[in-house]
Assembly symmetry: C2
């Protein structure tokens, strides 16, 4: 590969001058600049990033931590991040984490050996070791979709409880009283959304029936299906279900369909997230919209601004959510 020295030699200047031209530094005689540039172009020379980040101690790379089996919501989130990160001149390096202590350990090792300029988490880690390392290293960071109270990291997410309450309330206002819940045990938001559901019920004087609630081990359609089957076998009166995520809702609708129960005529279903595919389910899913795109942008901004200014700014950025009315909820008028 041709290096900066080759270019310097061919242009009859020193490597420093070439470097100055390439990085648009200081004053270089225009004639010299043109000469260098033309040779660069002719030779198709490009700076070696490895060498650059070695001396600069920067990699122009932001890490994004995401579950290995990321769902469609996270997929949209990180597409958004990658977009804005690139706009600001950063590359994105993904770290896929599996659901195990070992995987988190391995990640920490990798993190230490990597030269990152910043990092964004779309995935809540359990072991605090990683967060500790980041804090000690002073690495610019942003948490997306959750918070970590023990650490003073900026976070962007929605008002989880209020959003879940919004969904539940929507059901209540349409006359539903026997409302099921499908949520997950992992991650903060699963419990927070359950809490929102409880609050909405309570606010309307509806008793909270534990038999109407299930916690599934994951947040994907398969889990939603099994959760709904569980609810169904309990044979309780139930006219509506709030699924803590859209993917859960999709699985729930499927279970209903397989049992010959019509949605929304017999049972209404509402989700939370508003992922792309929710427009395309039959019936189309009524849900609560997280501003995914904006949240991705905000996360990117948080980290990039931190890097640019040299210090952290805001602590928490809360996004509000809105109901998206489609076809999966019926009014019990």
């Amino acid at each position: 590969m041709t290096s900066i020295k080759d270019i310097a030699r061919l242009a009859g200047v020193s490597p420093s001058t070439v470097s100055r031209v390439l990085n648009e530094r200081e004053y270089v005689r225009d004639e010299v600049r043109q000469r260098v540039l033309s040779i660069v172009k002719e030779k198709g020379y490009v700076q070696n990033n490895v060498a650059r980040s070695m001396v600069l101690k920067r990699s122009f790379t932001i890490g994004v931590v995401i579950p290995h089996l990321f769902n469609m919501f996270q997929r949209q989130l990180f597409a958004s991040m990658e977009f804005f990160l690139e706009q600001r001149g950063y590359k994105t390096q993904f770290f896929f984490i599996r659901w195990s202590e070992a995987s988190e350990q391995a990640f920490l090792r990798r993190l230490k050996s990597e030269t990152l300029d910043g990092i964004i988490f779309i995935h809540e880690l359990y072991s605090p070791a990683v967060y500790q390392h980041i804090q000690e290293r002073g690495l610019p960071v942003a948490l997306c979709t959750f918070e970590k109270d023990q650490f003073d990291f900026p976070a962007v997410h929605i008002e989880e409880e209020a959003s879940a309450a919004l969904a539940t309330e929507y059901l209540i206002q349409r006359g539903h009283r026997n409302i099921g819940l499908i949520t997950g045990g992992h991650f903060s938001f699963g419990k927070q959304r359950e809490e929102g559901y409880r609050q909405a019920l309570k606010a309307h004087g509806i008793p909270c029936n534990p038999e109407l609630m299930v916690r599934v081990p994951s947040y994907n359609p398969e889990a939603g299906r099994s959760g709904m089957i569980t609810l169904l076998t309990r044979k309780l009166p139930m006219t509506a279900v709030f699924a803590a995520t859209d993917e859960l809702a999709i699985g729930a609708i499927k279970a209903l369909y397989d049992s010959g129960i019509r949605v929304p005529e017999e049972v209404s279903v509402i989700g939370l997230d508003d992922i792309d595919i929710s427009t395309f389910t039959t019936p189309a899913l009524t849900t609560v919209r997280q501003p995914i795109f904006e949240m991705g942008k905000k996360s990117a901004d948080l980290v990039c601004d931190w890097i640019a200014r040299g210090h952290m700014q805001e602590k928490v950025e809360l996004f509000s959510t809105t109901i998206v009315e489609r076809e999966s909820v019926r009014s019990l008028a």
Copy 2:
């Protein structure tokens, strides 16, 4: 950050010795090795990858090129790749490409400045410049889901035409004669699948009606919906539709549902890919299964073996496909 020199000093040895210990090189006195190792552990020292790849001219990183708005099929594919790549000790670096000449150019520039050990394409580029660069550089490469005849690169994909013919044939065998097609114009596979559809029709003496075929600009559900609407407005007799991808099929089913046409009672729909979500549509999608997981593994193997052996091995790995019978196709008995 603590460097190899710090460890050396603390252990009372030279940096080279530490390096030898870390890389399990040659003979190092066991006592010395233990001492070094314990200090490494104590200090939580990890090698600096940037410096390593600078001197080694290797990065232990495989690039994966993927469309910026990758679909669920590609998502599963690259999850599989990342899994196997990691198993073989490689990191994965993603390159998201947008649908434009400029994006491909930008990618080429990045590619040149990056130190990659190999690269996998899940996305067909138009400009040959990138392929040329890779060939000249002798970079180990694998193409996944397509081939590039002009270049001698190993490729893994399914028998596109045969698979499309399989889907069409499945419809024909169930008594369908007026079979619509929704496919896309971009990428080789769109045309190949169209060709398979034509062949199957021809093999059964069914005339190919251009009015029954639409080409949409993308392969996602939204495109599938608009494609189906187009077909519907032509008001031709049509009892079944072959959608070139599952996502297209999902959109097509949606359009049918919105028009009050029941699937499969009035119109049958078959897809191709068998992505995860296809189990959860209503009705569940009958489709042709690509062995996504295995294809991801094979792509990873192709590149890793090339690196290990120093030269390319197989040229093309063809995977066969199978029908997955679910609920979206009806027999016209």
